[in-house]
Each structure stands twice: as structure tokens, then as C-alpha cells.
Amino acid sequence: MSRVLAAFAAIATVLADPVAAQTYDRLSEEARAYVAVRAPTVALEHVRVIDGTGGPVLEDQTVLLRDGRIAAVGPAASIDVPEGADRHDLRGHTVIPGMVGMHDHLFYTAVGGRRVQLGYSAPRLYLGSGVTTIRTTGSVTPYADVHLKDAIDRGDSPGPRIHLTAPYITGSTGAPHQARVTSPEQARRFVEYWAGEGATWVKAYTSIGSAELAAAIEEAHRLGLRVTGHLCSVSFQEAVALGIDNLEHGMLTASDFVPEKEPDLCPGNIMQRAGSSDPTGPIARETIEAMVEAGVGLTATLSVYEAFFPDRDVVDERTLELMAPDLREAYLDERGRIQEMGPDPESFRNEMRFEKAFVDAGGLLASGVDPTGNGGALPGFGNQRNFELLLEAGLTPVQAVQVVSANGAKILGVDDELGTVEAGKLADLIVLNGDPGSDPRAIRAVRWVFKDGVGYDSGDLIQATRGLVGVR
């Protein structure tokens, strides 16, 4: 009898708290300081909605949020706003899904060899910019990522939902902080350990051997993890054949474009050589076709690349304000150098063309910032910049919204709960002051970011990191 009662009580709990959501009550003082909208029922009225499904832009809508979920979306005239709801007339605003950042490290690298864990500023900048879910896609200080996720999940720190990726795994050469594996057994051991520590993804890097990558994929799949990679020693088509789940960056890292590539070796100058290839030629078509057939998504990271090219609009005031003073100076010097003698921007344009071709062929394109390189792409800001660059690449606003939100959710396997503005989904969404359909820069005009139905003040989150990017 008591068992039946207990079972009933458990079900009742589940029903009462359908989201296991992070309601306002569960947030720490620190997290609450950034909250602007906290009522259990919130009505965002008379907004434009680009819902992430790929469907048309919807005008004069009301989005009703209740207990951490989207309760209803529809024409303002047809939605019954319940008594007691916190109502906001948001004419001129646009609601899009919370962005899902697929290459969103919690560390940051920049000119002069800086590499810093941004345990304080990254979660604030992601959330403040409208990125409500991230995949870390490689880590340098792995336990710090694990514990930041815990702190956010507990409500102690403001920040996005985090899908943890294990440290980078590569072959016998690699960046200084990466795990080097030189046998399939080592690769399996690595995956097994980090799976136990909470990683749900593994990120392979440019010198991994195909045998080791195969072992990592096999072990990851056995344990319920997925694998992505910034590859080179293994081509995109080889990786697809090995069963990889996602590929990062695009044609600038696809060694498929180097016909004389030797097995398991990363050819020199890959970015230049792939970048000067034909983004819609036979190799590109074959590569795209293989990915589409296998359902392997691609993560666009245009904003990190852009900062390496001359004549690009990458020195915006808001980015400079957040950088630590010395970093700002070093970055401006670097941009000056690039302006004088940077590489031909044609390869950047080719990357855009490749991504457009991938989408046109039915490929699942997602996006992420990758806050590395020379430091020009900041957490969050770079995710917004990706949206603008996807439009420049020729995607429609509806497609670009889908890329930065729903497609990431699909690749992560959380699309039943996240990624679109639809009734029943978790209430992760962004309120933009303006229309990103007619003005791409409206993606930067974030007023509120809702995560789990709690509305955070974008400006407060971003301002909290002034001068700290590059420090902590």
C-alpha cells in the first residue's frame, strides 16, 4: 500500500514539475541578479515569431510561457492570456528560439598565445547573447567545464545548458593541451573515462589516426556518446565512413580537397589549399553527398574565420569593450597587420559557398562560435555574428534561424524539447528588439533571453564581463 502511495506521489511530483525546470526559486542570489522576467506565466504579445521550424515568419503573435514551457503560440487575437499572467506588449520585437551553439568552448584563445578558461565571462556572454544551449566541443581544463555545468544546473551560476565534450583527442602531434592517443586501446580508455565524468560528446582533432578515430567512435557509441571532429589527418568522407556524428568548420578543414593526401596524415597548408578549391565542384559535391546520405551534420564557424581576413567588419566597439585592455590593444594591432597583409578573402567566401551548397543539398547545418583563433570571436557575440554571416552566405532569415537553433538541437538529439518556438517545448527563446528578417543586426539587439521560462536581462549579463574577456 505504501508502495502504491509512493508511486502516486512520484507521479504527482512529475506532473507538478513537468520540466524539472530551473524556476526562479531555484536560482542563487548571483543568478537572480540578472533576472528581468520571473512570473510563472508570461505572455509575450504582438511579437513577430521566426520559430526555427523553417516555417514562414509569423506576424502579430502571442507566445505564452507557463512553468518553464511554451504553453501556446498563435495569432495575438486567438490566444487567451490567463488571468494573472505577466503581460508584455512587444510590438516591433521578434521572438526566435534560444540559440544552440555547437562549437562553444568555455575557454578562449587570442593573439599572443593567450589561452584562458572563461569560467566567469563565457557562461554570462553565451546566455546574454541568446545562446541557451552549448556543446563545449573540446576542453582544456576539463574538470572546470564539468563543475561549471553542475553550477549552472544547480542554479548557482547563470549560463546556458551545457553538453559536455571530453578534452580534445588527437594523434601523435597536436596542440599542447590535447590528449594524444596512438593506439585504439588508448582511444577507448580515454572515451570510457570521460564518459564516466559526464561527457556526452568526444571531439577528435587534426592528427588523429583513422584506427584511433574508429575506436573512439565505436566506444563512444557503445556508451551512448557522440563524436565530432575538427579533422585533417582523416578526411570528411573517411570520417563519415567511420561513423562520425558531426563535422566541424567546413571546407577549410576538409582534407578531401587535397587529392594527394596520404592516409592518416594532415597535409600542410590545409586551410589555404582547401580554401582555394572549388566549393561547388566534384569533390565538394561528393563530400556533401556522403554527409547528407549518412545524416552527418556540419557545424558552421564562420565568425572565428572571419577575424583572420582583411576588409571584414570584425572590430566592433562592443567586442573591444569586453576585452581586457592589453588584449584589446594586441587584437587591434593584429587586425592592423591583417588589413595590410592578410590572406585572400576568397577562401572565406568559398567557405560560405560550401555551406550554402550543403544546405541546398539538404544537409543539416548548425553553427557555433569557436572562441579561439586571434580572439575576435567572443562567446555569444560570435554566435550572433554567425547568423549575420549565414545571411551573407545566401541563406534566408528563416533558414539562418533554423541553423542557429533547431539544427543544433537535432544534432544534439534534444530536438523533442528544444530548438523551436512551439507549444510544449522548453521555454528557451530570445526577444529581439527589431526584425532580423529585414535587418541582420537585429540579432544583436537582444532584450531578454528566456531559459526554462526565466527571462534574463541581456545587457546586465554582458556588462558583467566588461574587461574580463581574456582574464577569467
Binding site: G112, G113, R114, R115, V116, Q117, G119, Y120, V140, T141, P142, Y143, A144, H147, L148, D150, A151, D156, P167, Y168, G174, P176, H177, Q178, A179, R180, R189, Y193, G196, A324, P325, D326, L327, V471, R472
Partner: protein, 478 residues
Amino acid sequence: MRKFIAAPVALAALLAPAHLPAQSAAELSDATSEFVSVAGPTVALTGVKIIDGTGAGARTNQTVVIEGNRIAAVGPAGAVEIPPGAEVLELPGHTVIPGMIGLHNHMFFMGAGGRMSQGTISSPRLYLAAGVTTIRTTGSVSPYADLNVKSNIERGLAPGPRMHVTAPYVTGPNPALGDMAQVNSPEEARRFVRYWAGEGASWIKAYTTIRRAELAAVIEEAHAQGLRVTGHICSITFQEAVDLGMDNIEHGFGTATDFDPRKRPDECPPNSMVTVGEEGDPTGETARALILSMVENDVGMTSTMAVIEPMTKGRAVLDERTLEAMAPEVREDYLETVDAIEANPDWPMTEAHLQKHMAFERGFVEAGGVLAAGVDPTGIGGAIAGFGDQRNYELLVQAGFDASTVVRVVSANGARIMGVDDELGTIEAGKLADLVVLEGDLESDSAIIRNVTVVFKDGVGYDSEKLIDSVKGMVGIR
């Protein structure tokens, strides 16, 4: 025909005496060779004063002969035969000591204002330049980076010390210690140890919130895997750590919660360093019993006064070389913090506190304890890689030890705790040729420890000044 010639050469290499360089100058990459000033393979240092690390008194007008990567002979001038073809360095007025062994020598740096950076380039160069030829990392935040640096150094690709890699910090659940592995059960603790043992860690470092059950599991598993365990502890008293079988304890007096009247089992009392500093008695009954127990169980202690000093009011570390090594913004934050400490009338870390550290370390050594040293390049950032190890030397002299004892503390005792004392830590024939050449008489002036000219590691001499110049302005960045 060519095959026949190649075979005897290979055979000759195999049959060659075992004391040939493990890492001869010829095998080093260009990036490493750039810093080599004495390539060997046969070198004689003549006319030097030697403090050999055994605890014996200084000896003047000595000759040291290096052949390959080993010390071939040491003795008074005239009594040692200099092999034909040796490169002879006449060094009157110089002192030679064993390469220092830094037991609390992270590859990362933590500075004022919450800055934390992996010193991928600056740390190994500064350690070697300062005369630290062997380090134990004693906790890491980017563990694979430490393993890769070790591998690069061993392959001759980068200049740096011999490295004994410690696993990431392991502690108990605590939101404030986000960079560390946090273990919640003995099984989690064992899993942690097994994984990092397999990745190449030879030590485990426990931290301030680990509980007894998990620490016991860590120690048991580590010993089963051939690893050893040290700790900066707080939730565990020094006495409890000794009883649980820990091999080494870091920092000394200020972190010994044996002296904190508020201590409860498995809990780290808040601000314990302040309470212990104010209320603890470093020479009283508790101290004597604790020291006796550490000595009886052969548990060494690592002195890290270099990191404590900059946080001590009236003791700001402002030497030009340290400030020059820092990146400009790191220097600025550091100087601001120093000013804030000096301006704060209630700053809890005082000279009296530091003196208690010194008294406890004196009591430990007098009782026969194995005291070693390490820089710990954290705190407010005033103790940087290598320079802080040298500062430890000076502070140990300030604590009242004579030169021979201090040299032993910074070299041989570390080797003993690490279990490499058959090969390293003293200047004796047959040992590996890890030596520091200092310009001046270290015995009469402790500041001579800063005057490093050449550092030998594996018989290869590195140019200290050149190494230091190569990383100016880099500390805190990379």
C-alpha cells in the same frame, strides 16, 4: 655494401657504455639547442666551491668532471684527472650545487585578479634557467598539457626540467574548487587514480576538501599502481594524513589543521590558515608530537615559503626580474594587490605568521624530518616558476639553516621523497650530471642563488640568462 657498414655502427651504439648521454646535445631540436652553451660530451669544471647536497660542508677549489650525462669524478684540484679532449671551464669564484628539485612546481601560473594560465613556454624555461632540473607538478589544471610538455622535453623538442607529472587535483565536493576533480565516493577516487596512472601520472595531489574515506582509497589505489600521494590538506589533519599512509605533505605549518581548535572530522574550517597563523604554536606539544609522527613514518614535508611571502604584509616581492618576467597586465594586477595588502590595517597574514612557518620547519628538520621545497607559483602571483624556488633557498637561510642544509633541502631531500635519490640530488661520481653553476660564494651570501650562469641537465649546459630573456613578459600569458 652500405648495409654492412650500417650494422656495425648500430652494434657499436648498443655496446657503448651506459653512461653515454640520455639526451646528448646532438639529439636536441634546434629550438632546444639554441639555449645550449656547453654541449659536452666531456666537460671539466675547475676551481669551484662545491656544496654537494649530502649535507657535508662546502669544499673549495674542486674539480667536477662530466662525461656524457653523468658525473664522472669530483674532488680537489689536482686529485682529479681531467680526460683528454674535455672542455675545461675555469670557474674560480663560482659555486656548484646539485640541480634543484622542485616539489611543488606547477606548470600553470595563478596571478592576482583571478588570472590562471598554463605556462606552456615560460614555466619549463624559467625552471631550468633558475637551476631547477627536476620538478613534480603537484596538481594540474590542464592535465594533458603537462603530459605533453613532459614528452616534448624528453624528446629534446623543448628545453625544460625532468618532470614528474602529478594528476589533476583531487578533492571533495566543493563548488569553490571548480578546476579540480571532485570525488564523492571511494570508488570514484579509485577510478580517478587508475585513469591518471595510465596516462603517466606518478603522483596524486589531494586538496583541501577531500574526506578521509576518499583519501584512504586514493592512497591505497595509488600505492597499488606504484604512485605516491601528497596533499595540500585541510579537511584532513597532518596527523590523519600520516595515519592514512600519505607519502608527502605540502606547505607546512599554516595548512596544518591539527592547530585549528575548530577542526571537525572531514571538514575544512573556514580561513583556517589565519586561525592557525594566529593561534597555533609551532613548537608546542601538538607540534612536537606531529613532527615525531611524520619523522617516524618517513613522511616528508614540502616547504613553500616563496608563495606565502608575497601575501605577507611588509614582505612584498618587488624584484625587477620577477616584474619583468610578468606580462604587463599581470604585473599591474599584482602591484595593485600588493598595494592593497600594504594599505589594509587588518590584513591577516603577518610577519609573525611567516616566522611560525620557519619555526615549524626548523623543528621538523632538527627532529630528523625530510624537508624539501617547491615554489607553488600561485597565491597572488609573486612567486614565479624558478625564481620562487631560488627565493625558497633564501627564506630557508632566513629560517636559520646553514648553506649545506639548505642545499640538501632544495635538492637531495626532494630526490629522496621522489625516490630518485640513487640518480639525482647530489654531486657525486656516478650520478646524473644535473648541476647548477653560480657566480659567487653561495655559502657566505644566500642571494648568490640568483646568479646562475650555466645549468647542466643530463650533462648538457644551458644558458640561464638566455632562457630567462626568451620569456620576458610572458608569465601569466603562456
